[in-house]
């Protein structure tokens, strides 16, 4: 396993401490509740989607640094973007965590989200990183509750 310091980099630590777009969002057009029953990570994601754009996105809930920073960076990365672009990010983020996409060699639009690539080496934490992305996918597809189990 790689040194946890490689994963727990300053950006992740900082987003854990001061998550962006944290809070409730009403009224919203899309929402979903993501749960990781094994460890208790819990996120509620709300979005305002208009004209095919993610106009606003906010999250509440509690979880570990990895799930919180992943949620925070996700909101930063999809806010203001077309829904289709958000879907591409969901797909590429999941591929990266599965090990099917290597951000160093494969073309991708993940940018700073590649910070989470190290989670591949921590199988017990994969669900923490993926939870917000799975929740975003559900919200965009009108599913209320998603569980990573």
């Amino acid at each position: 396993m790689s040194d946890p310091r490689e994963l727990y980099q300053q950006v992740i630590i900082e987003h854990n401490k001061k998550p962006r777009n944290f809070g409730d969002l009403e009224p919203c057009t899309h929402h979903a509740h993501g749960l990781n029953p094994l460890c208790g990570d819990d996120i509620v994601l709300k979005l305002v989607v208009e004209d095919g754009l993610v106009q606003d996105i906010r999250f509440t809930g509690h979880g570990c640094a990895i799930s919180k920073a992943s949620s925070s960076l996700m909101t930063v990365n999809v806010k203001g973007k077309p829904v289709a672009d958000a879907e591409v990010l969901v797909e590429q983020f999941r591929a990266m965590i599965r090990g099917a996409l290597d951000t160093a060699t494969d073309p991708n639009v993940l940018g700073r989200l590649s910070l989470f690539q190290g989670v591949r080496d921590l199988p017990s934490r994969v669900k923490c990183a993926v939870l917000p992305w799975a929740t975003l996918h559900s919200a965009l597809h009108g599913e209320d509750i998603v569980s990573t189990e």
Binding site: M1, N16, K17, D41, G63, C64, A65, R125
Partner: protein, 411 residues
């Protein structure tokens, strides 16, 4: 110094555990997770391998010498369990898959027979999900209610109102001997005495009790006492239900099948006497024999010496952890076994667990299958270190430096 209190020969004991002598992530492992499952010492592994290699066939079947010998070894293990908890008779020792199955058995037999609409089941606020969910399933089925014995901020049950909580509708009380999260040793003898004063039987969840305490079911006057093999240095897949003879005899069977019958016709079945009545199908034979070997192993070390050693580790760890700024211990009961839960300000237990894991320190991070306890303390999860007889003060030191490293990363 008497042999009962002489210090343990830790290095000799540690050599019996392959997990402790094999590098993990390139470092020696510091195993502080015995409350989730204890490591298995070589004599137990070898005993099971020997059984499976040379002595195995089914038990209680056929007239072959091999079958008779397998049956004898299997029943000897039952006697070892009986002696361990001082049960009056081996007939009162029922093999199950574990604590969870033992409780489900009681809920589905005693419970279905005795709990009806409007009745109450009284549980303590610090029960594991295994002593909550089986009763909720029963309560839902029967239209019965679950009531809860509260606890204070130190993690001790508040017994002042117990006599009011036990009503004429209470059909059973379920209480854990030792909390798997808080380490609290509950005054189960006192609770049983007060429940019995109102004619209510008590089930004691001994999953964390048996590994740390000398248990005497007669002295406790417990109606049911349940525990698992794998928390007592034995294998998984084997557990125990001890029950009062009159209760077990009055209870209907749970699973039907081979071994639990006297005779079967198309008109109906006559059931075997206890314990056979509750042991349908082929039991986990190697696992039962393995649990017997585990009991021999811990008794050879000495239960009193184990308790004294673990208590010393608990005190040492408590003192060292309390000195860490931003660390809060969850569960500060006056009577505690060697289970130590804590939270670190601003750092989630899963992050602590992952970083400690990299340092070779194995702890449990999460809700410990006791979410109502988490809710009671207003936290989502804790990190838990649990100490066994093979742990040392150096293991505690490794935990402390691991925690300091976590805090440094999260600065």
């Amino acid at each position: 110094m008497s042999t009962a209190t002489a210090p343990l020969d830790i290095q000799k004991i540690r050599a019996d555990f392959p997990t402790l002598t094999t590098p993990f992530h390139g470092k020696p492992v510091v195993y502080l997770d015995s409350a989730v499952s204890s490591l298995t010492p070589l004599p137990v592994i070898e005993r099971m391998a020997h059984y499976q290699s040379f002595e195995h066939t089914n038990v209680h079947r056929g007239v072959s010498t091999l079958s008779q010998e397998a049956t004898d070894r299997f029943e000897e293990a039952r006697e070892k369990v009986r002696a361990l908890i001082n049960a009056p008779s081996v007939k009162q020792i029922i093999w199950t898959r574990g604590t969870t199955e033992s409780i489900n058995l009681v809920a589905q037999t005693f419970g279905r027979q005795n709990v009806h609409e409007g009745d109450e089941i009284l549980l303590s606020a610090m029960e594991h999900h295994s002593d909550i969910v089986p009763w909720q399933l029963l309560a839902e089925d029967r239209g019965a209610k679950i009531r809860v014995i509260p606890m204070n901020d130190a993690g001790e049950l508040i017994l002042d109102g117990l006599d009011d909580l036990i009503t004429e509708r209470t059909k059973i009380v379920g209480v854990t001997h030792v909390s798997n999260v808080l380490g609290t040793i509950n005054p189960v003898k006192e609770i049983i005495r007060r429940a019995h004063a109102k004619g209510v039987p008590v089930l004691v969840d001994g999953a964390q009790g048996v590994p740390h305490l000398k248990v005497d079911v007669v002295d406790l006057d417990a109606d049911f006492y349940v525990f698992s093999g794998h928390k007592l240095s034995g294998p998984t897949g084997i557990g125990v239900l001890y029950g009062r003879k009159s209760l077990l005899e009055a209870m209907p069977p749970w699973h039907g099948g081979g071994s639990m019958i006297l005779s079967v016709t198309w008109e109906g079945t006559t059931f075997a006497a206890i314990p056979g009545k509750f042991e349908a199908g082929t039991p986990p034979i190697a696992q039962a024999i393995g649990l017997g070997a585990a009991i021999d192993y811990v008794q050879a070390i000495g239960l009193d010496r184990i308790a004294a050693h673990e208590h010393d580790l608990l005190l040492y760890a408590t003192e060292r952890l309390k000195a860490i700024p931003g660390l809060r211990i969850i569960g500060e009961a006056r009577e505690k076994a060697s289970v130590l839960s804590f939270v670190l300000e601003g750092i989630h237990p899963h992050d602590i667990g992952s970083i400690l894991d990299h340092a070779g320190v194995v702890v449990r991070a999460g809700h410990h299958c006791a979410q109502p306890v988490m809710t009671r303390f207003g936290i989502p999860a804790t990190t838990r270190a649990s100490f066994a007889y093979f742990n040392t003060r150096a293991d505690v030191d490794a935990l402390v430096s691991g925690i300091l490293n976590v805090q440094e990363i999260f600065q």
